[in-house]
Structures are given as structure tokens and as C-alpha cells.
Amino acid sequence: MPSILFIVFLPLLAAIVTGLGNRALGSFAAKLITTGALFAAMFLSWPIFLHYLGGNVGATVTPVLHWVSSGTLSFDWALRVDTLTAVMLVVVTTVSALVHLYSWGYMDEDPDQPRFFAYLSLFTFAMLMLVTADNLVQMFFGWEGVGLASYLLIGFWFRKPSANAAAIKAFVVNRVGDLGFMLGILGTFLVFQTVSIPEILAAAPAMKGASTIHFLWLRADTMTVLCLLLFIGAMGKSAQLGLHTWLPDAMEGPTPVSALIHAATMVTAGVFMVCRLSPMFEAAPAAKTFVTFIGAATCFFAATIGTTQWDIKRVIAYSTCSQLGYMFFAAGVGAYGAAMFHLFTHAFFKALLFLGAGSVIHAMHHEQDMRYYGGLRKQIPITFYVMLAGTLAITGVGIAGVFGFAGFYSKDAILEAAFASGTAMGTAAFWLGSFAALLTSFYSWRLVFLTFWGKPRWAESEHIQHALHGEHESPDEEHGDAHHAEVHPHEGTGGYHPHESPWTMLVPICLLAVGAVLAGWAFYTPFIHTEAFWNGAVAYNEHLIDAMEEIPEWAKLSATAAMLLGFVTAWYAYIKDTSIPGKVAEQLGPIYTFVYNKWYFDELYNVVFVKPAFWFGRLFWQQGDVGIIDRFGPNGAAWVVEKGSVAAKRFQSGYLTNYALIMLVGLVAAVTWVMAQ
């Protein structure tokens, strides 16, 4: 039996056993079963990846079960493995296994651990179904499955209203994207008469500019319409500009969840989808331009917000959003290998940053506001060093030709590809991406400096106060919201002593740190430069790769320059002269407020969509159903009967039905009599 079956279905089995066993099973057994299953899946996945690393390995499809056939539409449950899947397999199973282990420590005091671990394993199963999909509908299954798991895990601490709201928001906003994805699948079936991905991809190149299709009021190029619809799905899942609002709120979930789902795996599903369907996008240049635009815009926009947030997890969330933008514009300019490479390295360093942040939060008794941190580098040294490795990786530190941290290779490859693409949109993406690299470096170092450097500012944190006064606190307890702009906590430890996290948490982050340091250096060549590695799994643009080698030296160095500039700025503002950030914020005034309030997207959507939906709901109900339909319908009939006839008075209200009943019986009798004649 192929190992892929075990990789995919062991997590499902673990989720079912743990989920149904729940409290009867107990926390320890639940942890053991799920974590065991995930480590098994991980150990089975790496050989597959290493096998593909050798190059020139084709795709295998393992059929599982027939699913649906209806007319000419037919699709199965099947597990497809090719290079693209192999990459995702190691990313998903590795990060998931490490996050499972990390949660042993992080969730140790939670009474609901079986439920938590069952959800985590369920998520992993759905994600694996997504990446092994051989047809669009199974991909949609995985797509929705991860959405469900994300919803359940964001709302894991379901007593908190904010967690519930965030969970629903995540699901519903994702569904907006899913609507596009669904319409894209429907259109693709209409055009290609199949939902099988390899068949569609084989037929796609011939369709380039060959036909037009009607959609709503439009008649437009077929491939453009299809790709744009599918891309709306990707935008929802990957939190791109416009559909990004759910991702920062998703930080309500426990931190291991943020690391696994909202950084390393689920949110990259959109990038995976675009890469998986890359031959389709190659046949739709206009759609590619749009992808580039959205990617570059998100990359810049999210980075600006990241520079202003105080919540440690939100900074990393916006950073994720921004990094996903890089991946999309890489795909948009045709550098699918670079997009996947950044996805791969990002999974390691972003999971690392999140889990590191979790370790900080754990040490600081669930305080997440960086204004109450400071000076932690001596207290939690291991966490500090791995966070440092993660920061070096995300900011892209390295010297060309010698050695670099993971992000150095992947981000530079993306910027080079954007520059080399030669299109106007590609060039715009290059500049936005380079500027975002500066911002990335700034907010990443800002996070590190605020957390680990300076003097402790812990004393006034409510969470720390709780810890000091021995009040029991669970993370799903509500706290007064002190998270507004004008907080200036005084320095002081308040007598609190942060402790380094247990080994179950430190081992996973140390392993991820190894990935964050080495992944770029080790895998640069196959991902970017080896057509044999991809072997047709993504569209490989030889021309673009060659052009990347020939771009001017200043363009190659621009990312490193931006990174250094960001570092120096952050150092100056948060170490050298800590009064600067306040002054700058004051100087910028409205712009700062605009950025700090996340460009007011939430407020806008609330006014444009949420409130009207409820308002219209009440309108159609009370004015429509009750006010018009009932009033002139059944109630009107009753009124006529009541007022219109004295004789009928006897039959009003309840008795009218008896009258109707008699009428029915009479009718049936009459018909029977007619027939009998």
C-alpha cells in the first residue's frame, strides 16, 4: 500500500478517535495518538520529498474511492503526488507534527486538550487532501475542510465573544472567496468538460486567447474569466487585499494554531492553488497581471500596518499577509518556483516566529502587548536566540555567494523575478516589494527590540498582575481592553520572573530554527534553477530564470539594502532613542491613525455589508413577510371571511379550517362520484 495513504489518513483516524473519545479518552492519550500519527506522517513524507529532489520523477495517483458521476461530470477521491505535492507534504506534516508537540507544553493547563488535538489533526487531514487533490472538487473539499478546522480552532476558546466573532468572520470571509472558487470550478467544467486537474492543465495552453465566454454581463476571454474566478478563492484563503480582514482577527486562536494554520500552511493554500493551476494562469496574461497587482499591493499594505501594531501576534499576522503577497506576485510574473520556494522557507521561519512568540506569551502569562515586554533576552535565552534566527530569516540576511538565512534566498529570487519579468506590473511589484522588504525588516526588528531589549515594562500588565497575585487565569478569560494607542507603561518588573518554556515547546522551535537557517541555502538550486525537479508540476519559465541572472547588480542588492535600512531605523527608534516612535506617530497624525486602524477595512465592511445584511433581513421579514405577504394573504383571507359574511362568523379563526376540511372531503367525494359515472 502506498505510504501516501498513511500520510493522509493517519491524521484523520487520529482526529476521529480523539474527537469521539474526547474527555473519556483523557488528555494524555489524545496527545499521544494525534502527535504519534503526525510524526509518522512526517517520517513518511520526507522520503517522498527526497525522492523528488533527485529530479525527473513523475506524478503518481492513488485512487481511493469513486465520488460522484452525473452526466458527463465525474470525479473520484484520489491522492496525487508530484513535485508540488511532495513539497507541500513535507511542509504540512513537518510543521504540523512540531506544532502538535509544541502544544503539549503550550496547552498543558487547558482542560479541553482532546478537542484541541482532534481539531489540529483534522486540519492536517484536510490540508493534505487539498494538496494531494487530483481534481478541482477534491481540492475544494480540502479547501473547505481547512476552513472548518480554522473556524473551530480560532473559536477554540469559545467562551470569549471575540473568539467567536473572529471564527465566524474567518469562515464567512473565506466563503466569499469560495464563491469565486466555486464559480471558477463550474466555469472550468463548462469549458473543459472535466474537473480533473491534469486534463485541464493539458488542454489549457491551447485555449490561450482562443475563445470568449459569457459571464454575467461580460463577454471576455475564457481563460481570463476562469482564472480570475479561481483567484478570488485564493485571495480569500490567503488573506489578500480586500479579503484579508479575517487573518489578524484569527489571532484569537491559540498560538500553535496561528503558527500552523495562519502562517505556515492553510493561508498558503491560495499560492499552492495558483501554482498547481499555473498552466491555466499562463494562458491568461490579464489574470496574471491582476495576480501580480494584488500580491504587490497586499505585500506593501500589510507591511505598513505591521509597523504600527502593539500585539505581538498581530504584527506577525500582518507580516504573514505581506509575505503571502510576495508569493502571489512571484506567481503573477510567472516565477512559480520562486513562489513555492518562498512558501517553503516561509513555513519554517514564520512558524518559528509564531511559536517563539507563543513561548514569549507563555513566559509573560498570556500578555500579548509588546508595550509590556522588554528586557526578556536574559530571562528566556533560548526563545530569544530562536526568535533571532527567525528574524534573520524573514528579513533576508545573507551575502550572495557565501551564505544566507532562508528568506534571503527566496525573497531575493522573487524580487529578481519581478524585475526580470520586464512588464510594467512586474516592475511596480519590484519596487513595492523592495519597499516592503524595508518595512519587513523594520517591524521584525521592532518586535525583537521591544520584546528582548530595553528595560522590563511588565509591572502594569493586567496579566502579570494576575500572575503575581496568584489568581488563576486561563487564556479564555476576558480582560479589560487596554490596547489603545496611548499606553505608556512604566518600567519595572513588578517582581515577576518569566520562565523559559518546557522542552516540549523548545524542541519544536529549535528544529524550526534549523529550517529557518538552512532551508534557503540547501534547497535554492532545485526550487529555482532545476526544471527537472519540478518536472512539469508547475509551469517553468526558462526564459525568466535566465533573465533573473542578468539583472543589474543594484537590483540584486536592493533587497539587502532595504533590509539594512530597516534594521538601522528600527535600532535607532527602539534602542538608541526610544522617544522617536511617539514623535513620529504624532508628526504623521492622520496617516498614522489610518495605518494603525488597519486602513479602516473592518469599519468599512461593517457599514457596507454586515449592518445592511441585518437591516435588510429585518426589513424583508417584518415589512415583507409579515407586513405584505401575510397581511394580504392568509390574514387578509381571514379578515374577508370574518367581516364579509355573518354566516361565516361561526367558522372564523380555528373553525375556518374545519370548513376547508369539509370542502376537501366534498371535492374528493365529488370526483369519485364523477369517475364512478
Binding site: 474527555r23 460522484v68 466555486m182 465566454i213 379550517t657 371535492l667 370526483v671
Partner: protein, 502 residues
């Protein structure tokens, strides 16, 4: 065989009237379980790919009137759904305290009529079953219902009756015109197009009320709210399906030209239903009303699928009907479970039930997700196929109906939040015990069926395939041209050629 399936509950119903409460419960349960067993035998012996009409019985009674029974795959599936839900309904009626023998008899009588509707092969026999089904439902709401039961029963009766009078007149005319009341014969009879128009409208009046289609739906929320749990299950699970079944059995095959003529009426009302009733569901404070409104939205997907005039649309509609029968039935059971404990349907009285009722919360989550159309559950397969079907006919209708996947998620998850998540607001709600064995027996089988239909719907599609194909062939000549057709710029050899042929 089919007559036997009618006979068993009929005998049970009579027997119930002569015994006291406890025995009546037992009799009802035994009778429905026997019928379920018969239904399984029926399914097992149904010959897929065999004759179109199987298990046929013909006994001339008097004049042209005959006891004609027989089923095709479509009817088979709906009968199986009916007999599957009935024992669950009996189990769910534990909390009924007054007039138990009469209640059980009414339910068994109801089962007779429901199976009769799907099995009847004679126009008048169908009519009698179809309309007589009103009576037990009316009684269930009117006698065993909630506080405002009289108003609800009256509304239910008035709406459904008005529709059916028109249908009866149309049936009389048809029997006269075609010279037969045999349904299979009529399904192949070509009525003159001008007559089809008003025949279609007459049938439409009845089926649109039963579905129910916007704006004839207002009886449904009231009926559901007032009906006891089991009544709601049957109402949502089976009675609403009679409308869809009517469209499949009568409107489409008998009046294909008129169906095509009125396609925008159906599409328009369906689009309105999806958007409006979903928005209305969002603001409900009564659990049953919310689910009732969601039913209207889901049934609109059925009508657009049916009137897409192609295989995927028709098969999708059938799966939506079966799935909705299971899922909304299960959701009403979920409401019933907590209603039995706290005697209120008001959403705000609950909250945090995941804490004290984790198993209940799990089932509720599964059915919520099935209602939302999560792939892997039955809800997705039907919705997806219907949308595949309608996309080939019209992209506007598809786009608007597909917004249901967003709105559906919004109102169902909002409901779930207020009931199962959040803090425990009320001490009495927080003290409610988790599912009993009886409640496990109610919800467990439906959960398995929902997953089965989601993962391997072939079991349900296969028996219907030939019948859907025959219907598709019958309506194809009248199918309106789609707006989403591909136009090739140059006659390149592309796979799209087959899309144009579609």
C-alpha cells in the same frame, strides 16, 4: 410489496387507537421499523438498469379508477427517506403527553399517505394521497402544537388547499384530454402547448406552495414553530419534498414547453428566495423559525436545479432534496432535544452548550456544516451538482444562488455561536444533561447517512440515473439556450468543441 408498505402502518394506526399510551408507542415504533426494513428490502431488490417502473401493481377498482402502484429510482429514494425518518420521529415523540394513541395513529396514517404519494401511478390516487396528507399534518399542528397552533394550522391548511384546488381541475382536464389517468402514460403524452401553459400554472400553484417557493412560504415558519418536533421533521423532511417530486413527476415531463416558457418565473422566485430568506434567517431569534427560513432557501436551490434542464441540475436537485430531508430533519431534532429540556425555542436562552453537552454540540456542528454545504457532507454534493447544472443554463442565476453559500454560513454559524458557544448565560441551560441513548439513536443514524451521502453519493445517484436521463431527454427539446456558451475565435482543435455541443 408497495401495498404491504402501506398496509403495515395502516394496521398499526388502527391498532394504536384501541390501546393506551405505552402500548401505542411500542406499536408505532414496531410498525415504522418494519416499514424501514421493508424499505431496505425494496432498495436492495430494486433493479438498477432494469425496467423504468418496478414493483408495479394494477388493480382496477371502479370506473377508470385504479389502485396503481409502482416506483422508479426517484420515487424509491424518496420512499427510503420517508421510512428512514419515521422511526426517528416516533423516538422523538417521547415528550408528547396528551392523546398519545391518537398521536401515534396520526403519524402512522401520515406514513401511509406519504409512501402513497411517491408510489401512486394513477393521477387521482396521487391526488388523494397528496391532499389527504394535509389532514394528519393539520391535526398534528392543530392538536399537539404550541400556543399559537390554531393560527399556524389554519395558515398551513389554507395555503396548501388553495393550491390543490387548481391542480384538481387541471387533472380532470388532463384525464379527459389524454383519456387516461395512468401517470407513466401521461408523462409521455404531448399536451398541446397552449394548454400546457395553464396546466403548468395550475400544478405550479400547488407545488410552489408545498416547496415552498417565495412568496408563498410564510406558512412554513409558523407551521414549524408550532408543530411538535416530530411534526417539523416530517414537514421539512418529507412533505416539502412532495413539491419537488411534483415538479419532477408532472410539471417537467408533462409540460416541457410550458416549463421552458416559465423558466424565468421559477428562476426569479428562486433567486429571491435564496437571498431574501437567507437574510431573514439571519435576524431570527427563534431557532425553529431560523431553520424554517433556511429550508426555503435550500428548496430554492432545488427549483433552480430542476429548471436547469440538464442532468447535473436534475440529479443535484434530487440529492439536495434527500440531503435537506436528512439535515433539516436532524436540525429540528437538535432543536427538539434542547426544547425538551428547557421548553423554549428562544436562541438567547441558551449558550455555551458545548460545555455541558459536548456530544450534542458535535452532532449539531455536523448538521450545521451539512446545512452550510461543507464538502464531505450530503449538503455539498447536491448543491454543487445543482449549481453545475444551472451554470450551464444561466450565469446570473448561478452567481445569485451561489451567494447562499455565504449567507448560509453566516446565519448557521451565528446560530451555532449563540446556542453552543459563548458563555453559559442561564443556570438552567447550563445544567442540561447530554444526549440520552434514545437521542443517540435519533441523531446517530442521520449523521451516518449524511456522511455516506457526502462521501459516496453514488449509492443514491445510481438508482435514479436512468430515470433522470429519461427525463432529461424528455425536457431537452424545450431547454432554453444557456448564456454561458463558449465562442471560439478560431476553429482550433480544442476540447471546448465538446462544450459547445452540450
Amino acid at each position: 410489496m408497495l401495498s404491504l408498505m402501506l398496509l403495515v402502518p395502516a394496521i398499526g394506526a388502527l391498532a394504536c387507537l384501541f390501546v393506551e399510551a405505552k402500548a401505542a408507542r411500542t406499536i408505532a415504533l414496531v410498525a415504522t421499523v418494519i416499514d424501514l426494513a421493508l424499505g431496505i428490502v425494496l432498495w436492495a431488490n430494486y433493479d438498477i438498469g432494469g425496467a423504468q417502473w418496478q414493483f408495479t401493481e394494477r388493480v382496477p377498482l371502479f370506473a377508470g379508477f385504479q389502485w396503481a402502484m409502482g416506483i422508479d429510482g426517484i420515487a424509491l429514494m424518496l420512499i427510503v427517506l420517508t421510512v428512514f425518518l419515521m422511526p426517528i420521529c416516533i423516538l422523538a415523540s417521547q415528550s408528547i403527553a396528551k392523546r398519545v394513541p391518537e398521536y401515534m395513529a396520526t403519524f402512522l396514517f401520515m406514513e401511509v399517505l406519504m409512501i402513497g404519494v411517491f408510489a401512486a401511478q394513477d393521477l387521482y390516487l396521487f391526488y388523494i394521497f397528496f391532499e389527504a396528507g394535509l389532514i394528519p399534518m393539520y391535526l398534528i399542528i392543530g392538536v399537539w402544537g404550541g400556543d399559537n397552533r390554531i393560527y399556524a394550522a389554519y395558515k398551513f391548511f389554507l395555503y396548501t388547499l388553495l393550491g390543490s384546488v387548481l391542480m384538481l381541475i387541471a387533472m380532470l382536464w388532463m384525464a379527459n384530454e389524454a383519456g387516461t389517468t395512468d401517470i407513466p402514460t401521461l408523462m409521455a403524452y404531448d399536451f398541446p402547448p397552449h394548454a400546457q401553459t395553464w396546466l403548468f400554472l395550475a400544478f405550479f400553484a400547488s407545488f410552489a406552495v408545498k416547496m415552498p417557493m417565495y412568496p408563498l412560504h410564510t406558512w412554513l415558519p409558523d407551521a414549524h414553530v408550532q408543530a411538535p418536533t416530530a411534526g417539523s421533521v416530517i414537514l421539512a423532511g418529507v412533505l416539502l419534498k412532495m413539491g419537488g417530486y411534483g415538479f419532477i413527476r408532472f410539471s417537467l415531463p408533462m409540460f416541457p414547453e410550458a416549463s421552458a416558457q416559465f423558466v424565468w418565473l421559477i428562476w426569479g422566485l428562486s433567486m429571491a428566495a435564496v437571498v431574501l430568506t437567507s437574510l431573514i434567517a439571519l435576524v431570527q431569534t427563534d431557532m425553529k423559525k431560523l431553520i424554517a427560513y433556511s429550508s426555503v432557501a435550500h428548496m430554492a436551490i432545488v427549483t433552480v436545479g430542476l429548471f436547469a434542464f440538464n442532468t447535473q441540475g436534475l440529479e443535484g436537485s434530487m440529492i439536495v432534496m434527500l440531503s435537506h430531508g436528512l439535515v433539516s430533519g436532524a436540525l429540528f431534532l437538535c432543536v427538539g432535544v434542547i426544547y425538551d429540556r428547557l421548553h423554549t425555542r428562544e436562541i438567547a436562552r441558551y449558550g455555551g452548550l458545548s460545555i455541558n453537552m459536548p456530544k450534542y454540540a458535535l452532532f449539531f456542528m455536523l448538521f450545521t456544516m451539512a446545512s452550510v454545504g461543507l464538502p464531505g457532507t450530503s449538503g455539498f454534493v447536491g448543491e454543487f451538482l445543482s449549481l453545475v447544472g444551472i451554470y450551464q443554463a444561466n450565469t446570473w442565476v448561478t452567481a445569485i444562488c451561489a451567494t447562499g453559500i455565504i449567507l448560509g454560513a453566516a446565519y448557521m454559524l451565528y446560530l451555532y455561536w449563540r446556542v453552543a458557544f459563548g458563555v453559559q448565560r442561564n443556570a438552567d441551560a447550563a445544567a442540561m444533561p447530554d444526549l440520552s441513548v434514545r437521542e443517540w439513536l435519533m441523531l446517530g443514524p442521520i449523521a451516518l447517512a449524511v456522511l455516506w451521502m457526502g462521501v459516496y453519493p453514488e449509492s443514491f445517484l445510481a438508482p435514479m440515473r436512468a430515470d433522470i436521463a429519461a427525463l432529461d431527454a424528455r425536457v431537452a427539446r424545450a431547454a432554453p439556450a444557456g448564456d454561458s456558451k463558449l465562442k471560439m475565435k478560431a476553429p482550433k482543435a480544442a476540447p471546448a468543441a465538446s462544450a459547445e455541443a452540450h
